[in-house]
Symmetry: C2
Subunit: 442 residues, 2 copies
C-alpha cells in the first residue's frame, strides 16, 4: 500500500483556479482518468485527466513534449481511445504520470501558456467506457445490505453461514455496462406475483438502483496463478461509481438456484472518472469486525489489509423525477464504503484464489454499499422494506420503486481534516419506458 | 429455420477421400469452422473449415480466386485470426460460403490441383479460440440434470417452481474459457466439510466435468431490443462442445445466495470446431413436454420451435487416466441434446427478453446434458450420487471425482438413417496438480 508523497500535499495549488475551489471533486491532488471527446463532435475519443472544471487532454499534452523521462513512457500509453495499455502497465507508470501532471499543473510550473492549450471544459465533454470490459463480477461486500436483503428474501435465514468467511460474488453481464448519461428502457421479463398461479411476461414493476463502487483491474494474473493479499492492490488501477440497476420482481422469480440473471443484465452504469488508489491513499482506514466474528482465513488476511484496507469514501444517491425542475434533486440516502465487510484487496485476492485469470479492464462491483443505519441503505428495496412502505418526496410525490422518467444520480467523495477533497464526480441515468416488441411480449 | 438444400444431400462425395469415410466427423455435408495454424510453428492463426482429415485454409482459398460472387464477400470476412466478422455477417453469408465450399470440394468440381494446395492436415494443427468471447452465459437446460443435482443440494426441493417456466441461466466467466488441449491446474479454494466447524483453504477435493454444448452468437441485438422466438436462430452462428469444469466442494460452500462463482471460473474448455445450424438441420426433432407440464409463455413459444427446435446430437464423455495406455479411454456416459427441456432458440430469446444486448462471439452454455436414465448423466456428481458411490473402471481403478492426470474427452455427433454423419470432433483437457502459491494457501 502506498505511502503519501508530495502529490498528496494539501497545500498544493494549481495555476488553474477552478482546481483550487474547495468544493471541486477534482483538485490537483486527485487527477482521475477517463476517455472523452467534445460532445456531439466528430472528434476521436481520447484519454484525459480531470482538473477543476477542465480535462487535461493527454494527446495534446504529449505533443507539448513537457512530459519527459519515465512519465513520457506512461503518457505514450494514453494515446488511443482506451486506457487499457496504461491500466496494464502498473503502479510505476501510474505514479510517474501522476507525479508529472502534479508538477506541471502546480502554480508556478512555468508552462501555463502551453498547457492551457491542452485543456477542454468538462461542461462540453462526452465520455465513453474507459476500456473494453472483458468480465464483470459483482460482489456483495456490505453486511448491512446482505442482512437487509436476506431478511426480505429469506426471513428465517437472512445472513448465510458463508458470508463472514468469504467475499460472496457472482459473475455479471459485461455487454450492458454503459457510461454515465446512457439512458435505458425499463426491462421486460417474467415475474410471478405471490398470489398468481402462473407467471406472466411484461415490464418490470419493481425497478431499483444499487449504489456500488466499481474496481478496475490493472495488471493481470496468469490463468492458474493466484494473487497474494499483500500484492493485491497492485492489480487495482482505480475505483469508479457504479449503479447496478436491478429488476426486483424478475430477480425474485428467477434467482434460484443459480443467482441473479436477467434481473441485472439489462443495464449497469458507471461514472466516467476512475480515481486511482494513489489519490485515495489519505482516506485509508481500518475496518473493525465485531469481536465475535471469525478472522479471515490466512489467504485473505494481512496486517496491512486490516489496518489500512478500507477506504472512507462517502457515497450518496439522489433522485430527480420528471416533475422536478432542472437542477432539483432529492437525496435518498448516504453512506460510506468504509462500512464494507470486505476490502477491495480481499475481493481481488479471493477472485483469483482458484487460479481465475483477472484481465486488464475487468470490472469488479463491490455490491450495494449500505451503512449500519436504516437510512444509509443503498437501494430502494431496503429503503421501502421490500416495497411495503413508500418514500415521500419533498414535492409531494412518493416512490416504492422507480417510475419511468426518474433519473438516479450517485456521487462519491472523500473528505477529512487537513486533506484536499477527492471526488468521483457522478454517475447518472434515466429510466425510459419499456419497449414492448411484438413477438417478445404477450 | 432452415430448409434442407443440396449441401445436405447424403449422396454428395468429395474428391478428398478421407471426407467420404463413413466414420469421419467431417464429411462434405458438415463443413464446420475453426481458427488454426500448424502446431509449434510461427505461422499466424487463420480461419479454416474441416473436411475429412484435412483443414481447408480460407486464406489460401481466397488466393485461388475460385470463390466468386456472394461467397467471395463471405470469404473475405474470414481472413484474420478470428471468425468474428464472419459470425457477425449472418445467415446469408454463412450459407453462401457453405454452398461454395460444397461445390468446390465435391467430386468432379474440376479444380482439385489448385484446391489441394489449400489443405492442411488436422493431425498437425493447433487451434485457438474462434473469436474473442465477450460474455459467457451458462444455462441449466436439462431437467434430468437439474432434478438430479437439485436432489443432492436440496433433497426436499430438487426442482424449483420456476424451472418449467423459464430457461434458468447465470452469467459465467469468459476469461478462463480455453480451447481443447489446454490443460489446467486443479483449483484451490475455500471449502467447508459438513462436520467441520470452520472452512479451510486448499486444493479442490471434488473436481468434476460437465458435458455441455456451447452456442456461439452471430449477429447482435441492440441494447434495449429483444429477439422474437421465430427469428432467434438467425442469431446463432453454430454449436460446439463445452466442458464446464466444476469444483463441487467449493460450489457447495459458496453458491448461496448468488450462485456458482469460483467453483466454475478456473477453467471451461471448448472444442475447436463450430458446427453451423445449417449443417445440423437434418437432425432437428420435437421435444415433447410431459402433458402435465405448462406450455411456455408466448414469448418462448412458436409452432416452429416446438416442432423442430430440438437437435438430436449424441454426446459422450470418456476418461483417460494417467495409468491408461496411449489411446485407451473409458466411456463414462452418453446422452443426447434432444433431451434438453429448453431449445437453443428459447435460451437466446429468453436471454434478450429483458433488452440485454447479445454480442457477436458471446458463448451460451446449455448446462450439463443428462438424459432421462441414470447412466446418461453428464457429470460425476450425478454418476457417483454426490461422491457416495465410486465408479469402477475397467483397469481396476475407481473414481468418485477426478484425479490429477485425468483427461476428459467429450465427443458429439449426429447420425440418422439416410443422412451423412455430422460430428463435432472432440474437446479434451487434462487436470494438472494444484499449484500452491505462497501467500494464497495456508
Amino acid at each position: 500500500m502506498m505511502e503519501l508523497n508530495n502529490t498528496h500535499n494539501p497545500d498544493l495549488k494549481s495555476w488553474l483556479s477552478s482546481a483550487n475551489d474547495k468544493s471541486t471533486d477534482f483538485p490537483i491532488q486527485n487527477l482521475p482518468f477517463a476517455v472523452f471527446r467534445e460532445a456531439d463532435s466528430a472528434e476521436y475519443f481520447r484519454c484525459g485527466v480531470a482538473l477543476g472544471d477542465q480535462i487535461i487532454d493527454l494527446q495534446k499534452l504529449k505533443v507539448t513534449n513537457l512530459v519527459t523521462r519515465k512519465a513520457a513512457d506512461a503518457l505514450s500509453l494514453c494515446q488511443s481511445d482506451s486506457l487499457h495499455p496504461f491500466m496494464a502497465a502498473g503502479q510505476n507508470n501510474w505514479s510517474a504520470l501522476r507525479q508529472a501532471l502534479s508538477e506541471l499543473f502546480t502554480k508556478g510550473s512555468g508552462h501555463e501558456k502551453l498547457l492551457e492549450n491542452c485543456l477542454s471544459p468538462q461542461s462540453k465533454a462526452e465520455f465513453k467506457l474507459p476500456c473494453s470490459i472483458g468480465d464483470y463480477t459483482d460482489f456483495y461486500s456490505s453486511i448491512h445490505h446482505a442482512t437487509a436483503v436476506g431478511s426480505l428474501f429469506r426471513p428465517d435465514n437472512p445472513l448465510l453461514p458463508n458470508y463472514k468467511w468469504l467475499p460472496i460474488g457472482y459473475h455479471g453481464r459485461a455487454s450492458s455496462i454503459a457510461i454515465s448519461g446512457t439512458d435505458f428502457h425499463r426491462p421486460t421479463g417474467q415475474t410471478k406475483k405471490p398470489d398468481a398461479e402462473v407467471p406472466s411476461f411484461g415490464p418490470c414493476q419493481r425497478l431499483d438502483y444499487e449504489l456500488e463502487m466499481g474496481i478496475f483491474i490493472g495488471p493481470e494474473n496468469n490463468a492458474g496463478s493466484t494473487i497474494a493479499i499483500d500484492s493485491s492492490e497492485q492489480h487495482i488501477f482505480g475505483l469508479c461509481l457504479l449503479n447496478d440497476w436491478s429488476a426486483r420482481d424478475m430477480q425474485a422469480w428467477e434467482y434460484q438456484p443459480l443467482g441473479p440473471f436477467l434481473a441485472k443484465s439489462f443495464a449497469s452504469t458507471i461514472s466516467p472518472w476512475i480515481v486511482t488508489m494513489e489519490a485515495l491513499a489519505p482516506f485509508r482506514t481500518r475496518y473493525t469486525r465485531p469481536t465475535d466474528d471469525p478472522s479471515p482465513l490466512p489467504y485473505l488476511s494481512s496486517d496491512k489489509n486490516s489496518a489500512q484496507g478500507s477506504l472512507d469514501i462517502q457515497l450518496a444517491v439522489a433522485l430527480q423525477t420528471s416533475q422536478m425542475k432542472d437542477s432539483e434533486t432529492e437525496q435518498l440516502s448516504q453512506s460510506s464504503f468504509r462500512h464494507s465487510y470486505w476490502t477491495a484487496a480481499q475481493m481481488v485476492t479471493h477472485h483469483a484464489s482458484n487460479g481465475c485469470n483477472l484481465q486488464t479492464g475487468d470490472l469488479l462491483g463491490t455490491g450495494t454499499q449500505s451503512g449500519p443505519e436504516f437510512e444509509e441503505a443503498g437501494s430502494l428495496l431496503e429503503l421501502t422494506k421490500g416495497g411495503k412502505q413508500s418514500i415521500n418526496l419533498g414535492n409531494g410525490e412518493e416512490r416504492r420503486f422507480l417510475n419511468d422518467g426518474d433519473t438516479i444520480i450517485m456521487r462519491g467523495w472523500c473528505e477529512t481534516a487537513g486533506r484536499a477533497r477527492i471526488g468521483f464526480g457522478e454517475v447518472r441515468a434515466t429510466v425510459l419506458p419499456a419497449q414492448i416488441i411484438s413477438g417478445a411480449a404477450q
